[in-house]
């Protein structure tokens, strides 16, 4: 991936806007009792932003690290959301603020940055989904009692009677004989040109027992045996025959009823199935890797790491080292063994990747339609404003005013940073220029907060009370008149 983004100019203003927005979100979170989830969400947002920038590197190692950062950051955001509990509405606004302002600062929410994020989310998410499916298919009941129960039931079914054991033995031989030459053929294809594989293929062909090559009488006998197994008619006759011949009978029982031979046949069949699936798996991996397998793997590194972490956590949970995250008293997950730990973890990462992707796309679409001057900083300022309004209840008056002032400051610094980036392209402005602007705007906003606080604590209490509705209408009209007067004055 060679779409490296250049460092933003106006970095002091951009970083100041980011710090203020993030600090504002943290303070608001603390004020409403969401300190921990907000802090975690901020960390996740910063990790996502850093990952989006790092993924653009030409070095595969850095691309992989960026992918891990993006996936991990989204997972952290999802975990923080879970920690938020019931107050998820305000938390979502705060987390979104951190994500938007971090992305805007690092990568400018550019089209290229959005594409990189979506690519990583798509590739890593796909790997996580496949990992989850693989675990669910290959080890659905490992680590639970259901696995042992299923195994015992299977053994009983296979070795329930001598006729049934003999029939299942034939099934195993037929299946193994069917798979053997085909598996060896695939093996030969992988080792094209090897002399040793020729002999093995010829030998395997001798054991080819495809259904078409079975004689008709055997097919009839096979079906007849199946009927006898189902009906159980001949069980007594066979048992009597075997018990009448102690030596031969013991040998027959050892082969048929011990399950050892059946177990060996099962292992052989599983190995042959594995060999047959190798080429299919090779084609799938080859198609997925494409022309740049290293790049593809690096982009999906986040997914691989997530699956690996999930497996490690599941193993630790199975060993009792750690407590599973979501299975305390959940009877639904109880029969699923390790899946009960890995499943929610991986599913949470997938959902987080999806939600953050949708959020990033939504912001980019909004910016494309509205095209605010401050771009992502304008969105962040609006979110800080919205968060302040949502948290206005438990906040003191000066806190609310400070929150709105913070939103104004974030917007102003963002506009300044975007303008510098546009005017100077790659040149860096002097720090003094940015400090002058920052200082002037901060001073004005501080004065505005002071004025508002003075009005709120001294002027408003001194005013005569009015009925609620009249007061509301009066306030609204006063505001509209002030705004209209200001607009007219400008024109």
């Amino acid at each position: 991936m060679n779409t490296a983004s250049r460092p933003r100019t106006g970095s002091l203003s951009a970083r100041a806007a980011t710090v203020l927005a993030v600090a504002g979100a943290l303070v608001l979170g603390i004020a409403v009792g969401l300190a921990v989830p907000t802090s975690v969400a901020v960390a996740g947002a910063l990790a996502v932003a850093w990952g989006v920038r790092t993924v653009a590197s030409d070095a595969l190692a850095r691309t992989a690290v960026g992918s891990v950062a993006i996936t991990g950051g989204c997972a952290v955001l999802g975990g923080a959301f879970r920690l938020a509990g019931g107050n998820w509405g305000l938390f979502a606004v705060l987390a979104f603020t951190a994500v938007v302002v971090a992305l805007e600062t690092v990568d400018g929410l550019s089209t290229a940055g959005g594409e990189r994020f979506r690519l990583v989310a798509s590739e890593s998410g796909t790997v996580v989904v496949l990992g989850l499916v693989a675990i669910a298919v290959l080890a659905p009941t490992l680590g639970s009692d259901a696995a042992a129960t299923l195994f015992d039931a299977g053994v009983d079914a296979v070795t329930g009677s001598r006729i049934a054991a003999f029939w299942w033995l034939q099934v195993g031989v037929l299946v193994a004989g069917y798979l053997l030459p085909r598996a060896v053929g695939r093996f030969d294809a992988l080792l094209a040109g090897s002399e040793s594989s020729t002999g093995l293929g010829t030998l395997a062909d001798r054991f080819d027992v495809s259904p078409a090559r079975l004689p008709a009488w055997y097919r009839a006998a096979f079906v007849g045996q199946l009927v006898l197994v189902w009906s159980g008619i001949a069980n007594g006759l066979v048992d009597g025959f075997v018990t009448a011949r102690p030596v031969v009978g013991d040998a027959i029982d050892a082969v048929l009823l011990s399950g050892v031979v059946h177990g060996l046949l099962l292992v052989v069949i599983l190995l042959l199935c594995g060999m047959l699936s190798t080429t299919h798996l090779q084609r799938v991996v080859e198609r997925w890797a494409g022309d740049a397998p290293g790049q593809r793997v690096a982009v999906a590194a986040g997914g691989f790491v997530t699956v690996a972490v999930g497996v490690v956590v599941a193993v630790l949970a199975a060993l009792g080292v750690v407590d599973p995250l979501m299975t305390a008293d959940n009877s639904f997950w109880a029969p699923f063994g390790v899946l009960r730990t890995v499943g929610p973890l991986l599913a949470g990462v997938i959902v987080s990747l999806l939600v953050v992707s949708v959020a990033v796309v939504a912001v980019q679409t909004l910016l494309g339609v509205v095209t605010p001057t401050g771009r992502g900083f304008a969105v962040a300022a609006a979110l800080v404003f919205a968060a302040t309004v949502l948290a206005a209840g438990p906040l003191p008056a000066w806190g609310v005013v400070a929150g709105v002032a913070l939103a104004v400051l974030v917007w102003d610094l963002g506009v300044h940073a975007v303008a510098l980036d546009r005017d100077l392209v790659t040149a860096a402005p002097s720090t003094r220029t940015e400090v002058v602007h920052l200082t002037a705007t901060a001073l004005v906003v501080t004065v505005a907060v002071a004025v508002a606080v003075v009005v709120g604590y001294h002027v408003v209490p001194a005013a005569p009370p009015l009925p609620g509705e009249r007061a509301t209408v009066a306030l609204g009209l006063a505001l509209v008149s002030v705004v209209s007067f200001a607009v007219a004055l400008q024109r």
Binding site: T388, V404, V408, S430, V436, T441, A452, V455
Partner: protein, 560 residues
């Protein structure tokens, strides 16, 4: 404020930006090629008139120009030379300038380019962005939210928006007194040299300028290799802000764009944008001096040294004294030693007749941004022809391409002739044949589309028919990129027919891909074979060096 400057005040929804359109910048937004063309050059453009398309290619042109030159020889005596040029070229008489005189004029212009200048402010505009609207929007949103949620603090926070709006509105636009200087460390660099440009902005006023943004735009076609062309700073009274950047020089005359400064208030809501005009340009010119010719010469007086004795400057031999010999040529040393009178004979120098055979069949280029083989061949032909014409040699041109009727015996051929008019004819012929105009600064300019190699099947017959028209004592300078095997065969035939042949080959091959490497190796082998097997003089001109450097290097090993 400078008299005559325009001041306009307008409100922009977007903050003022250094690339905002303005009449000053509009006049800079021209075709980049126009900045690299010397308007005083003799490159004849389409507006100067073109040959009648129904006439037979260069034959008609050559004949017409030849006849006109003959008339010019008569008219010169009558002082009506300029009018004849105008008739030949279709240009205004006042604009017709002989090619060689243009070269000399250009060289003198090089030394006249300025290295430092103070730019004159020609335009200024006041711009206000819409930050006050954002303040009002915040106020309205806060007030509305306060009313909706019934929270007094939220409603009162509208004051913050109102105060910010007032802050963004207050304050007059800055009235800076900026003095902008630009200096170039080398106004006449060689192609490929790095030129450092320094822009200095001084606050000559008495007020602090909290936010000054400066943007300089290097000439079109020049690549910035180091530094930044823009800067932003806070400038106190008397303080100077400077920044430098380096560009890689390319052939041609490059005019610098105006410098734009934007001075903003501390809030950033109001700005004054100024355009500072410039008149400085940079000329990048690679001079070409001479090409060493073979001994084959004509009867006229020139600079080609021959193996015959006569008038000259280099000692050749002595002979018996003849009473008609001048006293100054008597070998007095021999007389003092032997008592016998003898006369010193010097090596006679004569003028040569040189025919340029220009291979225009391959319209390839090494890289997309570089000239094509045809353009380079035309450029080399013009430069070498001008140098030879300056030494009183006769120069002619034969053009080989795939256009035109191969059965036509004349094709595109310009008979050898001397004089300044012949230089114009050469340029005109090349432009008509290949669409390439060559001026003395920029080299060959052509359509950058990559056409690919064309068929060479018609080449052999046409060259033979040209060759029959060459003077017997003519030397041949074969200008070709040597991209196919047939050209070496043709070169050998020319040499076998008694024409001293020099090959001038621009190298447009590259080694970026496997196929290009094969082509590069094959071409190198053709050069080697020409040099070693047929002992033909070859100038292998790489685009990474000047033409004169290539000629000087390769001619060092030539035997006379």
């Amino acid at each position: 404020m400078t008299d005559g400057t325009a001041t306009a005040e307008r409100e922009r929804t977007d903050p003022a930006d250094l690339d905002g359109s303005s009449p000053g910048e509009d006049r800079q937004a021209t075709d980049p090629d126009s900045d690299s063309v010397d308007p005083d050059s003799a490159s004849v453009g389409p507006e100067s008139g073109s040959a009648d398309p129904e006439r037979d290619g260069a034959t008609g042109i050559a004949d017409d120009l030849d006849s006109l030159v003959d008339d010019a020889a008569e008219a010169e005596s009558s002082g009506d030379r300029t009018g004849l040029y105008a008739e030949a070229l279709g240009a205004d008489a006042a604009d017709a300038t002989p090619g060689l005189n243009t070269c000399r004029a250009t060289r003198s212009a090089v030394s006249e380019s300025a290295t430092e200048e103070t730019l004159e402010r020609v335009e200024e505009t006041v711009e206000r962005d819409g930050r006050w609207r954002a303040g009002l929007l915040f106020a309205l949103a806060a007030g509305s939210a306060g009313v909706v949620v019934g929270n007094t603090a939220v409603f009162l926070s509208a004051i913050v928006g109102l105060v910010y709006s007032g802050y963004a509105t207050m304050g007059a636009p800055p009235d800076p007194s900026l003095v902008v200087d630009r200096s170039i460390d080398d106004p006449s660099p060689a192609p490929g040299d790095t030129v450092t440009v320094t822009v200095t902005v001084r606050n000559a006023g008495s007020s602090v300028l909290p936010d000054v943004r400066v943007a300089d735009r290097p000439p079109a076609g020049l690549t910035v290799v180091r530094g930044e062309t823009r800067q932003a700073a806070t400038v106190e009274p008397g303080e100077t802000v400077a920044f430098s950047y380096a560009v890689c020089a390319r052939r041609g005359k490059h005019r610098f764009s105006d410098v734009v400064t934007v001075a903003r208030t501390a809030s950033g809501a109001t700005a004054r944008r100024e355009v500072h005009a410039t008149a400085v340009s940079m000329v990048c010119y690679a001079p070409f001096e001479a090409l060493e010719l073979a001994e084959q010469a004509g009867p006229g007086t020139g600079r080609v040294e021959t193996d015959t004795g006569g008038e000259g400057v280099e000692f050749y031999a002595t002979r018996r004294y003849d009473p008609s010999d001048p006293v100054s040529r008597i070998d007095w040393n021999r007389y003092a030693a032997t008592g016998e009178l003898s006369t010193v004979v010097y090596r006679e120098t004569r003028a040569a007749t040189v025919v340029f055979v220009v291979d225009g069949r391959h319209d390839l280029r090494r890289r997309a941004e570089e000239p094509s083989a045809v353009a380079l061949g035309a450029y080399a032909t013009v430069r070498v022809a001008d140098a030879l014409l300056a030494e009183s040699n006769d120069v002619g041109v034969a053009v080989l391409d795939d256009e035109g009727d191969p059965s036509t015996p004349s094709g595109r051929y310009l008979r050898p002739a001397s004089g300044e008019d012949q230089s114009l004819r050469v340029r005109r012929l090349l432009e008509d044949a290949f669409g390439v105009s060559v001026d003395d600064l920029a080299g060959g300019d052509d359509d950058p589309t990559d056409a690919g190699p064309r068929s060479s099947t018609a080449m052999a017959g046409r060259l033979d028919r040209f060759r029959t028209r060459f003077p017997d004592d003519a030397q041949v300078v074969y200008v070709s990129p040597l991209l196919d095997g047939r050209v070496t065969y043709q070169i050998e035939r020319l040499a076998a027919h008694g024409h001293a042949t020099t090959v001038l080959s621009p190298n447009v091959t590259d080694t970026a891909t496997a196929g290009q490497t094969v082509e590069h190796v094959e071409r190198a082998e053709r050069v080697r074979l020409l040099r070693s097997d047929t002992e033909i003089r070859v100038v292998d001109w790489s685009l990474d060096e000047s033409l004169q450097a290539a000629v000087t290097r390769d001619s060092a090993g030539w035997d006379r």
